[in-house]
Point group: D4
Chain length 254, copies 8
């Protein structure tokens, strides 16, 4: 068989076009490909929710790649160990209750799990705004290519509709802040000091629907609540992603 460059191009264009068209309307959109977003999306996919993960960068994984201070290791506590097992991430007990994993493996395994669960990924895609219509719910996302903004160009966005939106954008809580800035009844208090114990304990309470149609998870949940930060321990991130997936699925009636 002879390889044809045009067929290769057509294959890529046709397949991705189908994926985009197919996700112009979906059950749930997760914004941000860090640990909580990936865990949430993977678990939503496993529950049969039609879901996309939207990431502004070229690569998926968010702040997890660099571990702590560029030493690519992360720590997970006892309560979240079962999620490491669930996603197939190898770990080692450092002291009782402290499990160390490779940050790069964690990214790869979480992403693999989301792919296996049927989640569609849109990378290099920025969320510029949200769609809110007469019902007052966040009902969709206004998206654009990230490089358009990086290159300082002025190009109009497109729109993707979704029943539930999950803000997993980390301590910036970008979607929640967008809603706040444009007058939605929501206040983002911003993350507080470092206090791992407290931050890890409270995060599940803060993981919730903070505005009709908008859920927060991971550091975005703590940032909205004005809660403490926790540093390179990731148990709370994974558990919060799991909780967000449960809440979204419940809302969707799954």
């Amino acid at each position: 068989m002879t390889l044809n460059e045009v067929t290769i191009s057509r294959a890529i264009l046709e397949e991705q076009h189908r994926a985009i068209i197919d996700h112009l309307e979906m059950d749930a959109a997760v914004i941000g490909g860090g640990p909580s977003g990936l865990a949430c999306a993977a678990l939503l996919g496993e529950k049969g929710v039609k879901c996309a993960l939207i990431e502004k960068k070229l690569s998926i994984g968010g702040g997890m790649w660099g571990g702590g201070m560029m030493f690519p290791r992360i720590v997970v506590q006892e309560e979240a160990r079962r999620l490491l097992d669930r996603f197939g991430i190898a770990y080692k007990e450092f002291e009782e209750g402290y499990y160390v994993a490779k940050s790069i493996e964690a990214v790869a395994k979480l992403t693999s799990a989301a792919c296996d669960a049927g989640v569609e990924f849109f990378n290099l895609t920025s969320v510029e705004d949200v769609m809110i219509r007469g019902d007052g719910r966040v009902g969709g996302l206004v998206v654009n290519w990230t490089p358009v903004d990086m290159a300082g160009l002025h190009v109009d966005p497109l729109t993707m509709a979704c029943t539930c939106t999950v803000d997993a954008t980390g301590h910036d809580a970008m979607i929640a802040r967008m809603v706040e800035r444009k007058g939605g009844n929501l206040r983002v208090k911003g993350e507080s000091f470092m206090w791992a114990e407290r931050a890890e304990t409270r995060i599940l309470d803060h993981t919730k629907e903070v505005f009709p149609g908008l859920f927060v998870t991971g550091m975005a949940a703590n940032a909205v609540a004005g809660e403490c930060r926790m540093g390179p321990i990731f148990g709370g991130m994974l558990l919060s992603g799991e909780r967000a997936a449960e809440l979204v699925a419940e809302r969707l009636g799954r």
Copy 2:
């Protein structure tokens, strides 16, 4: 149990320190975390070779994340389909002999495979130079933190010794060019025009030891040989990574 920030920090520092010290001397170092480098490292790991993958960016995956023109799909031809199967990457037949996969899944599954095979990853790590001693072989790498260079700082590097070095840095063929620039008997001809058929056919011949201790794979192999480029078809990349792993293992006597 109460979480302690200092224990978290210590866990990360101790574990990564052990990993670095353990890899100051190793069998093989693969430079570049794109498809051929990941495939090569994963397969070396499976053969029991003590191997590290060194990537200058924060994320692993190289040019694969963006598919073709930011449409995150890649194409693989019949000959390499078995490697998609081997690494657990899902695909779909587009036309006879053309298989389309998601580029993001490909990165995640290849990285997962390398992790499972025991490969150690050093990301945000740049190779500044190579070590060549009296025997005239490339015997190690001179490495530094990538952000040191990005920030325009002047900081000395460290050294990692390895018996075999695999240049998987893509069309820049950075390691080969380093050896050439400093007077090694090696010429990097540079990649030629686009001609997928030819590029994919010849790449296995170009995958070889081009200087004592230095192997080239993927586009680095074609760039050294002055061979054509192939665009977003990745069969040759994976097969070249496999071939490089075989050659290195053979040289190491595995």
Copy 3:
């Protein structure tokens, strides 16, 4: 009727997808949306040639927008006046044989003419390389989104096949230089001093097929030939575009 954001997005995606797929194989591709490229494409379209104009910037028009030194007027001499008439560009006689037009109108009317003639435009699209297969002809273009490069990202390109390629990239002669740099038998001498009379007289001779499948027009033609430059007089540009269209049509048997 109620407007639906998702239908709007789908309409844009579907229509443009069809246009891209339809032009993965075409008769002629004109690279560069300045005066000679626009005139060439418009006239090719009028001859029924399936043709696309590929422009790296967001806007079409190249160096014509700014007239001379940001005074948005251009001059056209007697010989090319009929092309102003043909494209419906208003003008005024300044001195005998010197006609002044508004540069902005010239861009708009040339672009309108090309649209009316069925030319498809791909803006924000950069040509990274050319495709040359066994027959040694330039047979296609390796393209990417311009913002990918502006943002310093590493993303693979796609390929568009075309029987004839027209380099209308101005004094850089970027396509011709690409072929030269990669070893094609072609020499780009670079534009010479300013000498309007000579530059305008010789440009038609320099407008030709300079490599199998590759035609040059406008300042790219003069640059390949080492000919003089002419400044803000545009008669030669338009006539050269016309000539290139004739040559390409002839080669295609129209």
Copy 4:
């Protein structure tokens, strides 16, 4: 005849000088060359209003060039179809009531229409401030070359007087904000969420004189009113431009 570079230069300088001097006093100035500004200027010109369009960029067309997410297509709804016809922009029905046009053709045809209607264009020209004298009306513009600002230079501006000013600067509503910032009795609320239906319906009401002598059109109208945004549907833009032209003509007694 021999071409003379100096005559070419003189022709450009003389003609543009006349155009500038002629427009130091005019009936109407439209700021911003996007769809609403172009439509407004073209229709003002057709009504015999002495009018200039002032655009800060080198090219005319604003945010229309890139369609939606760099896919150069725009959508227009039934109500505005007659304006596509009027300006000669080709379109295709996608679904009932949704018409798709090429964004590049739309720019070219709107600009052509404005040129044919006698509108004078000043590109690369930024409005730094407005002139307000004793009558409390916006009575002129303080303009400068855009590159002066891009290059970080300190150069004084010049002034152009106009009876009516149309702010067509998009969601920044730059002229209205200038008036607000310097204490004028005017409040720019800023654009709200995406809701195409509502944004398209309300825009005509928001198109009005918001301060003595200052009219707003297009997204600037919605931004002043705190109205929703609409994305890549352009019917409201064109209709708003038409409405602004009617209001300005009425004020001028045409």
Copy 5:
């Protein structure tokens, strides 16, 4: 003996690893390597306090290197002359009561003194946040590599615990501002006009514990208090560093 690159690398890694691990918990951390921070750290070290100096830049010395307007001389008044003597910094009487020293020697001698006193230095290390747990005291620092921020990367920090924290970051008073911004009961008034006499006289009063666990010294002390600035006279800086060391030692019961 033959030198081995790997042993050199191992020596560096092992020794510094031990130093980091050893300082994850310490008595006092001084942030900022300018004159007051260096003096404070050196004197704390001499008192047997386990202490680290954390500096965000590559070099130690802060604003002292450049003297006044790049003329590398500093002035010290009578009251602080004994500290020049104590640290071995040569000086010359310019007028009665005004002693001039070389700014570069001052940096070198202060740094030498701190090293001799057993202070551990962490350079290229930024403090991103502080740790505050249930007792409401600043109990540690959230640190990261400076180049991570300079390179615009997103990498998680690590944590170092300390009983006392000394903010010696100059007029930015960065640690105090962090505490203020996140809601701590502390107000940073900002430095006032230049008035050397007053600034030098009051600085000792402003050198104190401004929040549980947080001490300020040098210009940070004056900035918190809204006190005047003093320019290139350094007596107050040194005396303030000495005072801070006394207060910290007292708090630690030394």
Copy 6:
């Protein structure tokens, strides 16, 4: 009388327009507003030569403003003292034969003299190329606004014709290099080491017509000749400017 902004604008536009049109053809153009260019232009003007000085920066004065190492003083030796007197620049004898002047006064007085002599200044104007027609002489300049280049815009230049061109662009010798790069029979050797005595002695010999129609003066003269550099002594600069004026006047038959 009431001041009218439009009259102010018109006055500026009309007067400068006349100046530009009047200088599209001239006897001599001096490129570069440093000491030799200013002296040359002033003396040409005094001889009744129709002359313009073209300077790429906003301010006139070139490298003279900063004196030596930002200490705004310059030195002139005995031989050139009469030129200080001629231009009314105050000075002081430092040692026998060494006269010190204020660099800022030197700029102001030289510029004043050129203005008084009727020289027209075009600042913010870059020379992009030269015009050479059939007679093989440099017969004009291809000019553009400097901010066009600073802002990275693509705008065509205009042309100014002149019988004689003086390259006073300093050690870059930009006009001479342009001629060299495009194939003119001229070699720019580049300035050599610092050796003030020799550089000052030889500069008058190097001040000459180096290509038909092109004269060099100041450091451009030494750079073409491969002569030494002299640092912040300006006698040779002024004398070279005087010599260039004499040569140009002679060529023009004055």
Copy 7:
């Protein structure tokens, strides 16, 4: 005589050193080298006031170099014509009462006049802060090299004492804003819309001592008062400079 590079360096260093030392204490300091600052300094010098002009840029002249929109002409009205005559600036009557001069000549002649009057210039010198001691008067300036800030370096400033300070920094009114920001009883309202007539009429009233020891002139005077701006008409600037000089001289008892 043989020229010696070291003598040249010594001459520059010694002379400028004397000038700096001599101006560490002076009667008046004018900040900003635009038209009002130059006029003020020149007239102060003529009155025998020991005065320095401090300019942050390398060149003197401020915003005057570029005339209006890079057309280097300025306009002066009847009332200020006598100052053009006084400074020897040539002009031409455009319409009755509107005189046009060359902006470059205006800079050169004003600077020459200031030099002749004995004003000392310190260019590349930024004012970072002011000195205010017990008497509550602005009594000096905290200065630094401008390139220190441009290069992002941290270097301490030096201090220059002066009895009167004149803020001639244009519409930024930088010195007045400094005093305001640090709590001085002074409010900078910011410049208002363009209205030349009003701005020119009121400026003399706004030229005054706005804080003990601090005078404002030129656009800084209008900016403090919230007065209108006037564009490229310079009569008010010169008259304001003259008024400021009178007020300062009066305060100093001259």
Copy 8:
């Protein structure tokens, strides 16, 4: 006593002025403040040579601050241990013959030693060129403020004369390259691969006078010779600095 800001400024200016004037002619100038330059300067000073160390950065210490990969430790081998002792740098034996020191202490102690030996430091000072007169010897340096270049300004340099020049600029060998580029009979081969053993052994041979009046030390010596590099082992650096000091002293007859 009351502190006076003006006296402080005068003290700094006077003292540094004296230092500069005093070093316009000197025995030896060492360029570059890394380990070899510092050692060389310190030892020259101890021998009574009038010597300055010229460093382009604000801080002294060069590449030593960051240790290896930002781990601030350096290694020194047995042969150079005596120099650690001589300069008072503490160390610890890691393995037999490998001594580890703190890089920050090494900088501070070497700098202190140079200060104590009477070496004058000029930091933020760049060498732009060298002075070579009739005798063909490097006889001085052409220097400028580093921030002038960082800020992109055009300011003339000054000159410092010296009998011997030591290039200690590291692997760039900047002074040697300057001499080579301007035609001096000297070839800089560039550093070769990493091979610590060889690099450390050969460096003393390469430390020599490579052009009349120009000595090389440290990595500059190896770079000129095309010798290998050695990484973060500093024995050779210190020994080379010592050797250079001996050679220079010998040449000067000390």
